[in-house]
Amino acid sequence: MEPPVVDLTGLAFTWRGAAKPILSIARLSLAPAERMFVKGPSGSGKSTLLGLVAGVNVPDSGSVRVLGQSLGGMGGSARDRFRADHMGVIFQQFNLLPYLSVVENVLLPCRFSRRRLAKASAQGDAKLEAERLLEHLDIGQGILHQRVSELSVGQQQRVAAARALIGGPELVIADEPTSSLDADRRRAFVELLFRECREAGSALMFVSHDSTLEPLFDRSVHLDEINGAG
């Protein structure tokens, strides 16, 4: 059987300078291609959890295993390379670098990961793959050459999704990606994201405080319930 994409055990994390841990999770795992909704109010440690899964932050204790590999056993830059190779990240907003074009923004992960570049260019050109992804996410040809700052917030989020998905990472991490969207566009965004994740074979860890989206997911976790530190 394939190992879980994410497997956290006995996890505890304290921000430097803080008196008590913000996170304490006994067990949390994510199966391949699974879509998990992590719900929690702001300040509950959602972003911290994502930082730990991404290997940007290191837990005080416990283990973080991604794709069967222990992040704790890697050095800092090995974790960075691992993240570049296997994970795509979507932030709440301002995901894009203003000085790059839409397509260049989408291709950014390929600059940091050969593996992603190789996978993205499997069908020929990585640039074409970027344009294909963008088209799937309803970013038409006309928008490709606009300045990133001229895009609407919704368009920016979809470009960010294309960037997270390029080169088919096993895990897509999304940190409140819909909170800056209008209510009626949120559902459409999530459905597009689902479709592309399915196509790329990526598991999705989706963090939000917006419970209206919750029923769309395979599984939902309430951070308050699993976080012993809360």
Binding site: S47, G76, D85, F91, N95, R111
Partner: protein, 419 residues
């Protein structure tokens, strides 16, 4: 490398402020290199005020003092030397040529130098350049004179101008040799040396105007017509100093010792190159101050870059977090920022160099005409390359300040976007 193209594109996105920063670095670099070049060339011009001369000989004194009055016509000789000693040394088998000079008279503030026609043959300056005539030719008759370029230009003299020589070196003299005027036979081309500010006549001319003088003043009631004086003036009884060229450089120290130990008369023979270097050393303070100031200006330029980068850094924290999420490691974030400073400094230096050459090319004739300083358009000297390296290093160090901040931000912020 991925990060460096990002640094470039990010900078391109801020091209206006980046260009201003680049400009300030370029200007400060051009200043630094320009000062260095002028410093080097003035030193070169100064220490080569006289070249090709192996020894300068005068009455017993210090070498610097001898050079000051014999070459720069500054101050007064301690004593004259006898014509006989001069003739004896000039006849030494190792001596190739000599140029006697006799000082003590002036014309409207410019020194008049009595010398032999050999002066125009053997006197060299700079990279062993001989004297050139802009107009006319060397003096031939007793009452003919040659003017340096600056003297002729500022007095507005053309050929055949009549010149009355005054006794003494000052601008205002009450004892003029008004009865024995000279005719301007030639005007020299600019040299950037004290030659430009002098007038030259023959030794006989100097002797002739002093016929009938005793103790620095005319004998009252005694009037000797110019033509008669010219006939009476054979050889001077003494001269101020003389320049010596040797047949072989190897004999220099030998002859120097011989002259310094000359029994008939206390003499000093100085190596002009050494004495000129020594003289320049006395003026090095001003030169150092100028260099220090241009270094300060470079620092100001780099500080401008530093403040630009630091103020941009806060806005760029989001960018750093995005890049971290994409798998950039903190070192790459450091490189992103330092790469920017390296690019700005490097292109600033190159632009400064370009600016310097453009200025040199434009101003070269003007500087030569006005200051008599020839600035050759040479490739950068090793000192200049070192200066540029130092600026680059300073730019790198300046870039490390925001670079390390970005590094630690990216470690502390992680993927959290803090705005």
């Amino acid at each position: 490398m991925a990060v460096l193209t990002l640094a470039w594109k990010s900078l391109l996105n801020r091209r206006f402020t980046a260009l201003l920063t680049l400009l300030s670095i370029a200007l400060s670099c051009a200043l630094l290199l320009g000062v260095e070049r002028i410093r080097h060339e003035t030193r070169q011009a100064f220490t080569q005020s006289v070249s090709g001369t192996d020894l300068v000989v005068g009455a017993r004194s210090g070498a610097v003092n001898l050079l000051l009055y014999a070459v720069f016509h500054i101050g007064n000789p301690t004593n004259n030397i006898s014509w006989q000693s001069y003739r004896e040394i000039a006849a030494h088998p190792k001596v190739d040529w000599t140029i006697p000079i006799s000082l003590g008279d002036s014309h409207r503030g410019y020194r008049v130098v009595g010398t032999s026609p050999d002066f125009f043959t053997y006197y060299k300056y700079g990279a062993k350049q001989p004297l050139d005539f802009a107009y006319g030719k060397p003096f031939e008759g007793v009452y003919e004179a040659v003017a340096g370029s600056e003297a002729a230009a500022s007095l507005g003299y053309a050929l055949d101008q009549e010149i009355v020589i005054a006794h003494g070196a000052g601008n205002v003299s009450f004892a003029e040799h008004g009865d024995k005027p000279f005719r301007l036979a030639g005007i020299l081309a600019p040299t950037g040396t004290p030659v430009d500010r002098s007038l030259f006549v023959s030794l006989q001319g100097i002797t002739a105007i002093h016929v009938g003088w005793q103790g620095g003043a005319p004998v009252p009631g005694l009037k000797i017509p110019a033509s008669a004086a010219a006939k009476l003036a054979k050889e001077p009884s003494d001269i101020t100093a003389f320049f010596v060229g040797l047949k072989s450089k190897l004999a220099t120290f030998n002859l120097q010792r011989h002259i310094n130990q000359y029994l008939q008369e206390p003499l000093t023979a100085a190596l002009p190159g050494v004495a000129l270097e020594e003289l320049w050393g006395m003026m090095a303070l001003a030169e150092k101050a100028l260099m220090a100031m241009s270094f300060m200006v470079v620092l100001v330029g780099l500080t401008g870059m530093l403040s630009l980068m630091l103020s941009a850094l806060n806005e760029r924290r989001r960018e750093m977090a995005i890049l971290r999420a994409l798998g950039a490691n903190p070192w790459q974030i450091l490189l992103l920022v330092v790469g920017e400073s390296l690019f700005l400094t490097l292109s600033g230096i190159l632009a400064g160099l370009l600016l310097l050459y453009a200025l040199l090319w434009q101003a070269q004739p003007l500087i030569q005409n006005r200051l008599g300083l020839f600035l050759p358009i040479n490739p950068p000297s090793s000192t200049e390359v070192m200066l540029m390296g130092a600026v680059l290093l300073a730019g790198l160090l300046a870039g490390l300040v925001p670079g390390l901040r970005a590094y630690f931000y990216s470690l502390a912020d992680g993927m959290n976007i803090r705005v």
